[in-house]
């Protein structure tokens, strides 16, 4: 599992000289990712606080979900088109930060809201009863939240640091590089003396910047326990959440729709879906992305079923696989190229399937772990105490109880795999393009309208998953 990363280090170590030429971009990446993630955390925390104070029903959370479900590069595309309509050019840092905040602030919200309920509910009640206000209230409430805040910051920092789509779409045209786009451009630079080696060295640098944040990832959070706190500023909270949802979803949607549906010059109704569908790239992309995401999910479900009876193994394996999930996908992609380029797997969809399975396994195992941690293992043991064989106990008790967790894992992996870009941009080959690659290729080929059409398809598919029944808890 760690082999791709080891190969990357082994190969990159011989090109450490590359670091001398790119240290400024490393610093820039570090600063941009840490500050932007801080901004996302600020916005997300603010929204979560408002929602918590207003005692908004959890159904309001789903309002923010779409903004998170849209793949970042699709949001980037949408924002680009919308802002162009308004004669604003979102290229460069401003646009990147805008897209990241609209995508990851909801993530911060979703991560923090349950923590607010469990941690903050009782504390706030105590503050109100004992009339602790102002700065003293902040001192009573903030420190207990620090671990959760720090952990959420770490997750978002890692996501932004490793994000390829947004800087590729909005950064590169303005000459703004981050480490993932730099690694990619080195990999395809005619001037590199050893493109793969230099990219590997940059990948190592990316890994180094990611390492400190890996230590911050949380284990699992508690169950929400609702406390009778009086609702405050309900209107403000509802307006903020709706406003943010509008910003994060409607704004990019508007641009995509306009671009995909109307002729850019005459403005007449002329949907670009037919042209997009005529491109083999798009057809392959759709088929491959669907195939890959379903196969990845299926394989991971099988893995989950196979491992369910061994919680110790799940934990151990998850710790290892966390590396290939949390570390920027660029590292895994480059590692797999180094490892598998001479083999028959290279340039087939199978290498992508392997990459996806390695990348997303940690997510499935995490939900499985949450299930096993929730007492399912004990209930199976109880079955065994009553004389059921181990196999029968797992079959009749363990697996049925784990099913919602496995389903939750599947619905976590499916949309992410469907809209994956970082890995597929590095590993795709003719015939194994993904939807993400299709968008990017269409863009660099100047096929803006087709890209918008594919972006809309991706958005639609992501939203469809929103309506699938989620039966967790």
């Amino acid at each position: 599992m760690a082999l791709p990363l080891l190969v990357l280090v082994w190969r990159g170590a011989r090109h450490l000289g590359t670091w001398l030429g790119v240290w400024d971009i490393a610093l820039y990446s570090l600063g941009l990712s840490s500050l932007t993630s801080l901004g996302c955390l600020g916005v997300g925390t603010g929204l979560a606080w408002l929602a918590f104070r207003a005692r908004l029903d959890p159904r309001w959370d789903t309002l923010l979900l779409p903004a998170y479900l849209i793949p970042p590069f699709v949001s980037a595309l949408g924002f680009l088109y919308t802002l162009e309509l308004l004669h604003i050019r979102p290229y460069g840092v401003g646009g990147m930060v805008l897209v990241w905040v609209s995508h990851y602030a909801p993530l911060a919200y979703l991560l923090l809201r349950p923590t607010f309920e469990t941690r903050l509910g009782p504390l706030l009640l105590a503050c109100e009863v004992h009339r602790v206000t102002g700065f003293r209230r902040l001192r009573a409430l903030l420190p207990p939240l620090f671990p959760a805040l720090l952990a959420s910051w770490g997750i978002i920092y890692l996501a932004i640091l490793g994000n390829y789509g947004v800087p590729a779409l909005l950064g590169l045209p303005a000459g703004v590089y981050t480490l993932p786009t730099l690694a990619y451009s080195r990999l395809f630079s005619p001037l590199s003396s050893s493109p793969v080696g230099e990219a590997a060295a940059i990948g190592m640098l990316l890994g180094l910047l990611a390492l400190p944040a890996l230590a911050l990832t949380p284990e699992t959070s508690g169950e929400p326990s609702l406390r009778p706190v009086l609702p405050r500023r309900v209107g403000l909270a509802q307006a903020s959440l709706s406003g943010f949802a509008l910003l994060g979803v409607l704004l990019p949607l508007l641009g995509l729709l306009h671009k995909a549906l109307f002729n850019p010059y005459s403005g007449v109704w002329q949907p670009a879906f037919v042209e997009a569908w005529a491109l083999p790239l798009v057809r392959h992309g759709l088929l491959n992305s669907l195939g890959l995401s379903l196969s990845t999910t299926g394989l991971l479900l099988l893995l989950g079923l196979a491992l369910a009876t061994r919680p110790g193994a799940v934990r151990l394996l998850r710790r290892w696989l966390d590396l290939s999930y949390l570390l920027p996908g660029t590292l895994l992609g480059l590692g797999l190229i180094l490892l598998l380029a001479p083999t028959a797997l290279y340039a087939t969809p199978w290498i992508l399937l392997l990459a996806y399975v390695l990348h997303f396994a940690a997510l499935m195992l995490r939900t499985l772990e949450a299930g096993l941690g929730g007492g399912i293992e004990r209930l199976v043991q109880v079955g065994q105490l009553f004389g059921l064989s181990s196999l029968r106990a797992w079959w009749r008790i363990g697996i049925p109880l784990l099913r919602p967790y496995l389903a939750a894992g599947a619905f976590l992996v499916l949309p992410l795999a469907l809209s994956e870009l970082t890995l597929s941009a590095l590993l795709y080959a003719p015939g194994s393009e993904t939807l993400g690659v299709a968008v990017l290729s269409a863009l660099s080929g100047g096929l803006f309208r087709e890209a918008a059409a594919v972006g809309l398809i991706l958005m639609l598919l992501s939203f469809l998953l929103l309506f699938l029944p989620r039966r967790v808890g």
Partner: protein, 315 residues
Amino acid sequence: MPKTLWIVILLALFQLGQAQESLTLYAAGAQLPDLNALVEAFKTTNPGVEIKLFRSGAGEVITKLRAELEAGNPQPDLIWLVGTQFFQELSTKGLLRRVPPTMPGFPLRFAYEGGKYYEVRFLYNILAVNRNRLPKPPSSWRELTNPEYRGLVVMADPNYSGPALAALGTLTERYGFGYFEALKANGLRVEQSNPLLQQKLAQGEYALAITNDYGVRQEIAKGSPLSVVYPSDGAILAPTPIGIPTWSKNPALAEKFLRFLLSDRGQRVFVERGYYPVLTGLPGPQGSPLKILSMQAKGVSAELLFHFNALFGLR
């Protein structure tokens, strides 16, 4: 998990494992819809063939191919690039398969090294102008450094785009690197690819572009306010050769495709897509001049590209 989901997953796995008689083409210098039109036309006479396509800028295609060669696992059955440098390299290593130049009406001088690689259409670097933004365009490359065009001009990234690389080499040869320094001082912007900058040009983000002719013609056909200016100091003819490598798993099919491109049918597809044909006796694309004042593109040394990158902050 519902049974249907499992069935879908199994089908998906099956789909990934499917194989067919196929041809892998690595291509630069033509856009997806162009390639698609060629492939579809080829398929009408060769049904059941799957053509897998890797399309990108010439820089990316070459680098990807180099990496595959280094790993000992090169993929394409057919290579189509902008610029002859890489083909000369492959030819010296004996990695190109010669195809006898026996196509009727084909000028032999475009069968390079006796048929190891072929020119299949003509691609010119020209000046494109957005008429809405600039009613009075310049008429030569030279004039782009004039202050009246300050902040209006764009070109593609020569690291990525083959035609841009050709423009860099040719114009440096002609006017010295100082020409680009003057352009930079005059606010020249660099976008990743030609199609990308053509879109932005059409939308009025730029007023002038050093770019290829066929893409601009395609945008004009869609109704954009663009026009092509053939510079008085010479449009740049960028060579865009195609060749079959010796490692091709399906050389017969690859040759069939090459011969199709050089057939009357294939050439007409090129013309429809705004390219000049290489076969003699065929008309040029609609609305284009019969004769173009042009110069042959010059190569670019690594040193020149390095200077250019440093000048424009490209990493």
